[in-house]
Symmetry: C2
DNA sequence: TAGATTGTTAATCGATTAACAATC
DNA sequence: TAGATTGTTAATCGATTAACAATC
């Protein structure tokens, strides 16, 4: 009994930020970065809400979790707010990462220069295709996947970007977990079944596409109904 | 008064599926497709829940919205269920789409053969770079972006995949809306401000990356606390 | 039949929205 | 000061989870 209480008291403040809030933070960061470039110094929750089509109260609640305190009548200090939000997402320091699967998507990601703004530093690519091994794609070397486990251990890599075909994803993921990987950013459209202490985030391309095609069907249906009602 | 009531009665059943449910549907489809390949004929909500780390009750509620009725003791007919889920997402018929921005990510997407499983058929690419125009990338022709508006109108294209740099995204999106586009799948990490009847789905790479890096920070922090407590 | 599984109705939980006092 | 904006506390809403009856 006493033990349970203790655990709850320790864990509660840690998993503190609601995931919907967490998913909105990058939107704030993106907007604020744009505003900063125009030399704006303060920004109000109303302004942010209007630009992002959100509710001002929600914006204030969201921004509050970063710990920044706004000034009545003025709003939030742009620099402070940006720094705090970036810190909340852990985007203010770099994490080395491996990318596994140097196909067309993997190569595109290797070429994406902006990952450093998001705390990500890709240090090597891996592929099982001998023809790709040894190549340098956008300045990043491609190594044989056989060396993956060893390199994760040796370099103490925490983050893996998984861009292999669906069929190979589960197996490689398990290997990496074995080697001590802490987080996997999964681009393969398949569910990875791994120990629950491993952080898995799915890039979820099919998810957002599904929402889009479904909404489109609804919209078309609705328009047809309106026509029939006239 | 009477008018408002009428609108509500018409709209309620249309926007019926909760978005969290909608976002889980692709996961079900992916799993069921794999099971189908093993010649399984029936599947229970418990089995699905176990494979996807979900709650069985939630799975049953989710599957119910597709209209499929399960058989007590047996579960759901795999083929029926798959067909119904694909229909719910509108993945059972093809939609022509344009892709705008044939950079490395855009090219990677042009090469992605599986979009047809998701109801998507990319018929042309567009780019503002004269050197890319005229090229054929993975069988898909690249046209000048100056022709975009006209082609959307002429071919009655409903879906656009937007893979241009952030700075250009808003302007091109507005152009496409002008031309009558109904839905935009946005890969640019910027918020598009458009009339609210336009369907915008963000690929949200930064969102999922943000969740990952945040959770990683929490995890590391927690582990440090545990060490200090020992 | 007994047992497994579905599907529905009710309870709980958490996020969003509203109301309002505090403050520059 | 008056007015705009913040931040907190309460109310509402919707999704998840629980309980249980129905059925093969």
């Amino acid at each position: 009994m006493i033990k349970t209480e203790k655990i709850e008291r320790i864990e509660k403040p840690l998993g503190g930020i609601p995931e919907p809030t967490l998913r909105r933070l990058p939107k704030y960061i993106e907007l604020l970065t744009r505003l900063k470039a125009t030399n704006m110094k303060f920004v109000s929750s109303n302004y942010v809400a209007e630009k992002l089509n959100l509710d001002p109260i929600q914006v204030r609640k969201d921004l509050a979790i970063s710990g920044t305190i706004g000034k009545p009548k003025l709003g939030f200090d742009l620099d402070d707010l940006l720094a705090a939000l970036n810190h909340t997402l852990n985007w203010d320091n770099l994490h080395d990462a491996f990318l596994i699967g140097v196909g067309s998507l993997g190569s595109a990601l290797l070429g994406y220069k902006n990952f450093s703004s998001y705390g990500l530093n890709i240090v090597a690519g891996f592929d099982s295709d001998q023809r790709k091994v040894g190549k340098v794609v956008n300045g990043i070397k491609v190594l044989p996947v056989s060396k993956l486990e060893n390199m994760i251990k040796r370099m103490k890599i925490n983050i893996a970007i998984l861009t292999v075909p669906s069929e190979d994803a589960q197996e490689i993921a398990e290997e990496m977990v074995e080697a001590g990987i802490l987080a996997i950013w999964n681009f393969a459209p398949t569910h990875l079944k791994l120990p629950k202490d491993v952080i898995v985030e799915n890039a979820q391309l099919t998810q957002s596409l599904g929402v889009l095609t479904h909404k489109l069907a609804e919209k078309t249906k609705k328009e047809k109904m309106i026509i029939h009602n006239n």
